[in-house]
Symmetry: C2
Subunit: 144 residues, 2 copies
DNA sequence: ATATAAAAAGACATGTATATCTTTTTATAA
DNA sequence: TTATAAAAAGATATACATGTCTTTTTATAT
């Protein structure tokens, strides 16, 4: 479904948020280790998220990544939009140039509800909520 | 969601089925033109579908692609499984190595129903049903 | 038999996502 | 002010999906 870049982005942000709660600002090496992702590639992903203002960073000693406004909910939708692009949410499942319910492809009737379900899920899920599940031991951040 | 290869595969099979109903066996050039896909790449896709026995082909004059048993429903699930591989249907949405509802990622609760909805849709939809929608002018095969 | 038409096969090319390596910039600590 | 630590940036590499070109095989029509 999502590309690896989006997966790393979401996992990285969850980890950063959890660390921020402890008053820490993790760097990309620590993040990559904890979310089991390639170090340098994760640095690039975080760089893009920083450019897109989804997260902030500080250079130099004691630097790292952090949320400027940790209380403001960050939805997965906003992250995926930045990483994959807006069209990701409206693509025709049959491969036509656009999805058009007035002139649908033969998959539209069955596919568009699935796509809307996905959209609803990522618009309602936030980094904060995912992080809480992990802190409450209701979910895991990585798997062996 | 699906890769272009799967999209071409599904559209191509729908077109072949429709033509078979008219007693014709289209070749890859005609198919590619009608489903708006790259000619040679479509040939490769059809070659793979033939190898996987989802469709049959005949070489030489008057040859082309056709269904051996047009009445046997062919689900999109079977096509996607051949093209994208079985794991496509069970991937963890958070990017963990496996999806495990006993030890879930924080997205599992919201993501797995979407994934199951997709699975159900492609297991219930068939090439025959899609083709019928097009023949009944309830859906289109291509878009400008 | 020969010419023709078509898929199959193999080789090659391009594009995009993913991944790594090196150098530069910037902030902090000593 | 110098050394150090960290992100940013740039260049390069690899893998895989996508796409094209050429040659071979095979069936049919003449
Ligand atoms: S037209 Fe294809 S999914 Fe809407
Ligand atoms: S464990 Fe991640 S989707 Fe099931």
């Amino acid at each position: 479904m999502l590309g690896k870049t989006s997966e790393y982005a979401i996992r990285a942000l969850v980890y950063v948020y959890i660390q921020n709660l402890e008053g820490k600002r993790p760097g990309f090496k620590e993040i990559a280790k904890k979310i089991d992702s390639p170090e340098q590639f994760t640095a690039k992903v975080l760089q893009n998220l920083t450019r897109a203002k989804l997260i902030s960073s500080m250079k130099g000693r004691g630097g790292g990544f952090f949320f400027d406004h940790p209380a403001t909910p960050l939805t997965l939708y906003e992250i995926i939009r930045v990483v994959e692009g807006e069209v990701f949410f409206s693509k025709c499942g049959f491969g036509l140039k656009r999805c058009d319910s007035e002139n649908p492809c033969p998959l539209h009737e069955d596919y568009s509800p699935v796509r809307e379900g996905f959209l609803k899920a990522v618009k309602n899920q936030t980094i904060q909520a995912l992080a809480n599940k992990i802190n409450e031991r209701k979910a895991v951040l990585t798997r062996l």
